[in-house]
Structure formats: C-alpha cells, structure tokens
C-alpha cells in the first residue's frame, strides 16, 4: 500500500504543485491590486521626507524618525513592536563647507564641496595647497611621498559609464572615497578631495562614509567630495597649470557615540512562529537631502508589506518581522547589533529581504544562498514576470542584513532599475520630488509578493 501511495504521489506531484502556483498567483494578483489602488508607501514617504527630512545617525531627526517609524507600525497593527537599543556614531557637518580653485594669486573660482562623513574639520581658516590629481591608489603610490607631502590629493576616477549596472560602477570607484584620505595621509597629504560618486555631471557634491584606517587623531586629514562638474573643471585647470592651489574649509566634527534604536515589529506565525522572515531597510540617511531614495523608499515599502498582508487578511505561517535599521550609512551599527542579538537570543532567521537600492521600478530580486536553494527559489520566478520582475539572480543582498549571513538564512535584495539611483545618491538632490508613486508602490507590491511566497515555501 505504501508503495502504491508513493506512486500516486509522484504521479500527482506536478499537478498539485501547479495548483499551488495558481493559488499563489491569484493571491499575488490581489497584492498588486491593493498596492496599485490603495498603496500607502508614497503618502508615508511624503511625511518622512518632507516633515522629518535628512536623518543622520545621532541627529534629532533620526530620533524623530524612530518615533515616527514606531507610530506607523502601531497604526498598521502588529503583534508586537519594540525599539532595539544600539550605540551609533555621531558626526556633524557643521557650518557649510567652502572651496575654491585659485588659478593665479587672488583669482578664485568656487566649487561645490561637502565633507565626507567621518572627516575631521579643516582649521577654521581652511587649508590651501597645491593639488595632485590621481585616478587610483597605484598611481598615488607611484607618485610617492616626496611629491605628495604638503599637497591636497584629488581622487578623480569616474564611475564607469559603460556598465549597465550602475552599482557595479559604484563599487569600482568608491574606494577613493572610503580609503582615499587614509592612503593620502600616510604619504603626507594635507587634505583630500574626491570626485563625487555619480554617473551624471552635476553641481551636487555627493557625500558618503570614509574611514581613517586606524590613523591616530593627529595624523588625520580632512576629506571632502567635490561635484563632478567641479572635478572636471579642476582637472582641466590642472592640465593647463599644475601649480594652481585649492582652498578647502569645513567644520565637521565627530562626537561621542549616542544611544539610538532599530525599530522592530512583527506578526507571529501561525505554524512556524520560530522561523523569522525579515523585511527591512535602513531608517537613517545622509544629511544633505531628505533621503527619499536612500533609504526612505525601502522603509515605507517594508511597512507596506505588513500593511498589505494585513489588509488582505493574510495570516502568516512563519513570523514576519520588519526591521528599520539604525546607522547603515556611517557604521552599520544597527545591522551588526541586530545580528549579534539574534545570535545571543538563538533566533532562527529563515529569510531576510532588504530594499536599499532606491524607489524605482522593481526589476529583479537577488538571493544570497546556496545554489540548490536558489534553484528551488527560481521556481517562483515565473509568477512575478507578469509584474515586470524579470528575474531572480544569485548575488549579494543588502548591507543591513549582511551580518545575519550564516549557512541557513536566505538573504535577498530588491533590485529596482539602477539607472537614476546615483543621480541622487548621498546628495542634496535625493528628495521626495524624485520619487514616482507607481514605481515606489510597485516595489512594495513585489516585496509583499516575495514575502508571501517565502512564507509558503517549504511548508
């Protein structure tokens, strides 16, 4: 009898599976209808961006966004909501930066700059020095200490415009920003300016994190981003006259760490409460814009996942947890603390999805997992194609959920169209008017659909 039943099961397995897929499809259709007819992501982001605004770690605005985030989760109505304490860096930009190129004595052209996050101030009277332009660390090394001492190093390698995936281009250039000051300081430079990490030519300095790589306080030098137009101008002026001087004044300061919070909420699963499905984004942003794309979009989309499932009366089988992470931009303390406590508390994460690539039309999901697991997940790819999700790819996920990585959890990232992201990234132009409502709500719908599929995966 057992043998016979087994045969029948095999015989019927395809059609049962196909029936499951059909049911999933019907429910996902409801998810999209709800997101596109009654989606709340845009409205929520309007508040976060326009009523709170930029929310760098340690700022009053970050505290305000924690309160707002908790209140929004209360409004959705979850089984539990809590704040998870975490110490974060506090860096403050201070008075607006100023920089100019001095072509001949007394003839100056001002250029837009912004201190890099974590950078020390210049002396209050600023610094003025000759400039050494380099495109790479190899070039810096080959120029050598004698020619660099006393100078400002100008890192001017642009993001490769021929890469279709702009995130790849970013990866190929961003070490100038993160490590440039430390490398230049060791060779005697007095300051560093870095070409903004953007694919456009614009007048916005794009800030971002930098690290001094263990340099003592007195060895550190100030570092600033210069707009791409400013970088082009400086480079062309240097090619005409290598002896021009650059003046930089900034007023940034590192303060002692402050107590901050991850905002967390969850709906407890009805069948496998101990298996956590996490959906999240980072709540902090840089200070220059209002952080609409980075990462306000991910925050409101993550909230929307919970709202849509609740509105559709869906009872999760696993525990679905939203985490709004503190301090992604300049420390990743929120993500690290979350993973540390998850380990201590022996929490089991089945899946974690992050949205941190902007609120643009969603096009793919990335999965950081084993090849065999990925093959299983690929089975769901077809269901989402009609909604414009082209494919599932095996790649990295998101910075905040990265520390959760172990041999069990499946990490995943929403992949929106990447063409416009770096136009606004870390700049004063990352503002709510750059958000398209349909694109944003579509991202929330795609995330909800994936979380729903995962909740039903391997049951």
């Amino acid at each position: 009898m057992k043998y016979l039943m087994y045969s029948i099961a095999v015989l019927f397995s395809y059609s049962i599976y196909s029936q499951d897929l059909n049911n999933y499809s019907l429910f996902i259709n409801k998810i999209y209808d709800e997101a596109l007819s009654n989606g709340k992501s845009y409205e929520r982001l309007d508040y976060l961006s326009n009523q709170i605004g930029g929310r760098l770690s340690g700022s009053v605005n970050y505290e305000r966004s924690v309160k707002w985030g908790k209140k929004e989760l209360d409004l959705i109505g979850l089984d539990s909501i809590w704040l998870q304490p975490v110490m974060t860096p506090k860096w403050v930009r201070g008075a607006p930066e100023y920089a100019h190129i001095e072509s001949t004595s007394g003839n100056t052209i001002s250029v837009p700059v912004a201190a890099l996050g974590g950078s020390i101030s210049t002396p209050s009277i600023g610094i003025s020095a000759n400039v050494v332009e380099v495109k790479s660390f190899d070039e810096l090394t080959s120029i050598g200490k004698d020619s660099i001492t006393g100078k400002i190093v100008f890192f001017n390698r642009r993001m490769d415009p021929t890469l279709i995936n702009t995130f790849q281009a970013y990866s190929g250039s961003v070490n100038q920003r993160t490590q440039g000051a430390a490398k230049a300081a060791k060779l005697g430079a007095v300051g560093v300016i870095v070409r903004s990490m953007t694919t456009t030519l614009d007048d916005y300095p794009h800030t971002g994190s930098m690290y001094y790589d263990g340099l003592a306080l007195n060895e550190r030098i100030p570092a600033a981003a210069i707009s791409t137009n400013g970088a082009e101008l400086l480079s062309s002026m240097l090619s005409l006259n290598p002896n021009i001087k650059f003046f930089l004044r900034q007023n940034s300061k590192n303060f002692p760490e402050v107590l901050s919070y991850n905002v967390i909420g969850q709906v407890v699963g009805s069948e496998r409460a101990d298996e956590i499905i996490l959906v999240g984004a980072h709540l902090d942003s840089w200070d220059l814009g209002d952080g609409s794309h980075d990462d306000g979009a991910g925050v409101v989309q993550s909230m929307e996942v919970l709202r849509i499932l609740k509105t559709l009366n869906y009872k999760p089988k696993r525990t679905i947890r939203i985490v709004l992470f503190a301090n992604e931009e300049n420390g990743l303390r929120g993500g690290k603390k979350y993973a540390e406590l998850a380990k201590i508390n022996k929490e089991s994460h089945f899946f974690a999805l992050e949205s941190d690539a902007g609120g643009f039309t969603p096009r793919a999901f990335s999965f950081d997992t084993t090849e065999s697991e990925f093959r299983n997940l690929k089975e769901y790819e077809g269901i989402l194609k009609q909604y414009g999700i082209d494919n599932f790819v095996m790649e990295g996920s998101g910075a905040d959920i990265g520390p959760l990585k172990d041999d069990k959890v499946i990490l995943s990232g929403l992949r929106p169209d990447p063409q416009r992201y770096f136009d606004y990234h870390h700049a004063a132009s990352d503002t709510f008017d750059k958000i398209n409502k349909r694109e944003l709500e579509l991202g929330a719908a795609a995330m909800t659909a994936l979380i729903y599929l995962i909740d039903n995966y391997k049951l």
Copy 2:
C-alpha cells in the same frame, strides 16, 4: 558530393551560428560603450526641446523642427537626405482655456482644462451648463437624450491603476477622449469634458486628439480635458449636488490643411540595397509641453542609431533609413503618406522600428510579424539580456509605421519602462527636465543593437 556537403553543413550549422552570435555580441558591446560614453541623444534633445519646443502640425515650430532634423542628419553624414511633402491638419489652441465649477450662483472654483486637439471653440463668452457624469458610453446611452440635451457631459473613467502596462490602461480609457464628443453631441450635449488620460493625480490637463465622426460643422460641440485633480473635485461636488454648473471657455480653431514634411535620410546597403530597414519616430508633438518624451526622445534616438553605426565604421548590408514622421498626434498623415509612396515606388521594407513610448529605460522590443518569423527573431533575445532588454514580445509596434504593414515587413517597437510615461503624456509637464540621460542613451543603444542584428538577419 553534393550530399556530403549538405551533411557537413548541417553538422557545422550550430557552431557557425554560435560564432555569429559571439561576433554580434562583441559589436553590440561597442555600440553600448559608444552610446554610454559619447552618446549624443541627450544633447540633441536639449536643443529640440528647449530651443524649439512644442511642435504641433502646422505650427511654425514644426517647420523649425523639420529644418533642424534635416540639419542634424546632414551633420551625421548619410548617403541621401530628403523632405517628403505631406499635407497635414492645422489646429490652433488659441487663447488659454478657462473653466470653473459653479457650486451655487456666483460661487466658483476654477479648474485646469485644455481643449482637445481638433475641438471647436466655445462661443467667445463661453458655455455654462449642468453636468452629466458618466464612466462609459453604455452609461451615456442608458441615460439617454432627454437627460443629456443641453448639458455638458463629463467623461470620468480613470485609467486602471492595477494594470502594470500603463499603455493597456490608456487603451482602456482613451475612447472617452477620441469619441466622447461625437457620442455626446448626438445625444444633444452642448460640450464635453474628459478626465485626463494619466495614472497620476495632478493639476495638468492632458490633451490629445478627438474626432467628430462625420458630424456636420453645426452639430459639433467643444471638448476639453480636465486635470485628474479637477475631475476628482468635480465628481465629488456632483455627488453632493447634481445641479452645479460648469463653465468652459476655449478659443481653438481648425484651419485649412498645410504643406508639411516627413524628414528622411538613408545609408545605402552594400549587399541588399533594395531591402529597407527603417528606424523612426514622429517629429511633431502636442503644443502644451516641449514633447521631450512624446516623441522627441524617439527622434533623437533614431538619429543616434545612424550616428553610432557610422562612428563605429559599420557598413550596412541593407539600406538603413531614418524617417521622422509628420503629424502623428492629430492625423497620422506622415505615416500614411510614407506608406502610400513606398507602395507606389515599389519600395521593399524588410523591417521597421519605431520608438514612441518615451525616453525611459528600455526593457523590451515588440514585434508585429508571423509566429515563425518571431521564433527566429527570438534567437537574438539572449544577446540583449545583459543590457537590460528583458524580452522580445509579439505585439503591435508604432503608429507611424503601422500603415506599412503587409505580409512581408517586420514591424517593431522599442518598449521602455512604462510607469512614468502617462505622468507627462500630452501635458505641459512633458519637458526636458523629465529626461534622464542614461535612460535615453540606453534606448538609443538598444535600438542600434537591434538594427545591427536585423541588418545581419537572414543574409
């Protein structure tokens, strides 16, 4: 011996084919590098949009864009360039429209309206009447002549927000705009206002063509688009008080047809000069915005196809022809004339590609051809996936190339991401600042790649 050779050919066919694909891939990589490093679409569109602007058929601006188009083709350097005469309608909006809702006598709220293209004027003192709101022609018919006579009919069916493809949503609502006035006039209405065809809630009236369906001059009634916010307001006020009045004043006028031109250029093929591969877009636009997405983007992208191939020293095997069509928006005269003359001159069109869906990230190509031909073309799909072209689909192409349709030509359309298109479509908001350079140049690259593949197809 013949038999043996045949066998060998079959044996080797796969690897030869695969080698071809490799060579195509290498060349397409060059196309993308050129488009993303040195693309000229954005610069060209800046001129067309900001120095010429809106260019409705019959306007001075349309004449200016013909001259500009010819000059740009001269600069690229083609084998021949010519203007193809075509008579086009001339409709002029006249003085700005004005409309208000009169809730009670003397209490008015103004709402944004724009005459639909082709509509007659109101009397110079405007019209004022009660309003009948309908969502469909069926509803209009069921209300009947007695209740409609003397009223303004308000067509208020919105575009379905749950359709992922916004063009489908447009198709599902646009008959209110094109045919609403004719249907309402036959039932005694004195005017028509139509909810703007857009997926957003905004304050822009979105114009577009309308036709009187053979109505005599004295039977025609004025028709205007109302912004979606205006439509929502009017609808909610009507639900409170069905007796409110609507006032509309517009000053539009139809003039006798004028002589106009399609702008055409070509590079003669080295092997099959008589097989024409057409790439094109429409040069005219509505008058409210500057027509950057509709269809300035397609115009400059089509030019870019020729420029890139020339820059890469590519010698086409078939004849590659660019056509910038006149009068797509309110008559399609350019497309019709072109097809008519092609037939008379016994020209053989192998392929025609149109870009007329906005300058957004390209995501697919549509093909209007036989199923067997489509299966062959699908072989090329994989080459473009790495550039973000998700798939080839079998669907309609573009309005201007539609009249070429016969049992031989393959018609094709560029399919950019459709989420933002109707935000700007036919409205004052369709302006150059809504264009993203990378997205635009990527579209040009995709088109160039396809034209290149087609040039080598079935040789």
